[in-house]
Homo-oligomer: 205 residues x 2
Amino acid sequence: MNAEKVPDIIIGRLPIYLRALQRMSEKGMRTTSSQELAKHVGISSAQIRKDVSQFGEFGKQGTGYSIPFLMDKLREILKVNRMWDVVVVGAGELGHALSRYQGFSDRGFCIVMLFDNDPSRIGKKVGEFVVEDSANMVERIRSANIKIAMLTVPASAAQSTTDKLVQAGIKAILNYAPISLNVPDTVHVQYIDPATHLQRMTYYL
Amino acid sequence: MNAEKVPDIIIGRLPIYLRALQRMSEKGMRTTSSQELAKHVGISSAQIRKDVSQFGEFGKQGTGYSIPFLMDKLREILKVNRMWDVVVVGAGELGHALSRYQGFSDRGFCIVMLFDNDPSRIGKKVGEFVVEDSANMVERIRSANIKIAMLTVPASAAQSTTDKLVQAGIKAILNYAPISLNVPDTVHVQYIDPATHLQRMTYYL
């Protein structure tokens, strides 16, 4: 096992495998094969076997993979065999939707704070949260030792907000603002921008 | 120009370049260099030059790229030098947020219909739309000749809804449901699942 050097493209596929295994498990399945998993994720069985084997021998020839065991292993590798606290910055419509989304808790994440700088939003209740003033964001995040943020502010505010998140000790940002962010090498950013995803498909139409 | 064979990974970067150029243009900039663009997108200047050169010679040594010209070319390559009609299926909180999102129109997309199967949602107004009954979805999409859908239904309904979208002639699906979809080779799918993106980062924390 030499996880340090596993290419990021492989790491990117592991959450997809884990998600499919979780669904199989919810349906009561206990074992699977790389062929069966391949059908669920749209990735070849050879690729799945190769990806998984980077981290050890988790399957048995003939009997395939134990779903609970492989889920445990993937959770351990991805470090989601624990709960991560997450802050949402930007209490607009998307921030609201994310704060109320039920699909995080069984995948390792728990939203714990929601910030905005708009006085008309601060103090309002969103699901279980009260929108907090982003003026207190750096201190609040730092004292709670939170490492993950979701950014749903307008593009014009995204970089300045990011600088504050980095200052607060955030190490992973899921950015919904349609702009590339400048961060230190020690901070990871993933992007969600529906127009970018759509444009990637129109090329083929 | 041999666009047919350009790897998908390159196609995936073009919308990011286009997005950065649009922002530069909004700030009144008229020219840029691969070095400057690199700073905005977090991709090396050599990679940018290589990617762009797949489609022709768009820059001039010494003077760099004309921003309006390169934007036009990228829009043409990505086929967003026109407007695409898009349907949203699933009028939950995320479907609402997408239907009201202002960031599609200047990037080639116009949401024109919103469907749900929940009687309590059908007929309700969301922004400029009235939520339509998904029982009429196949016919409505087909007669309007719409090719692009955004899917924001629960995971349990995602595959059956996708089958209907394919039947209706949809060729590109942006899937927000946390499940991999089975579609014919002629249909393109992109995935947006925040938990998957977060798990890809926790690996590194």
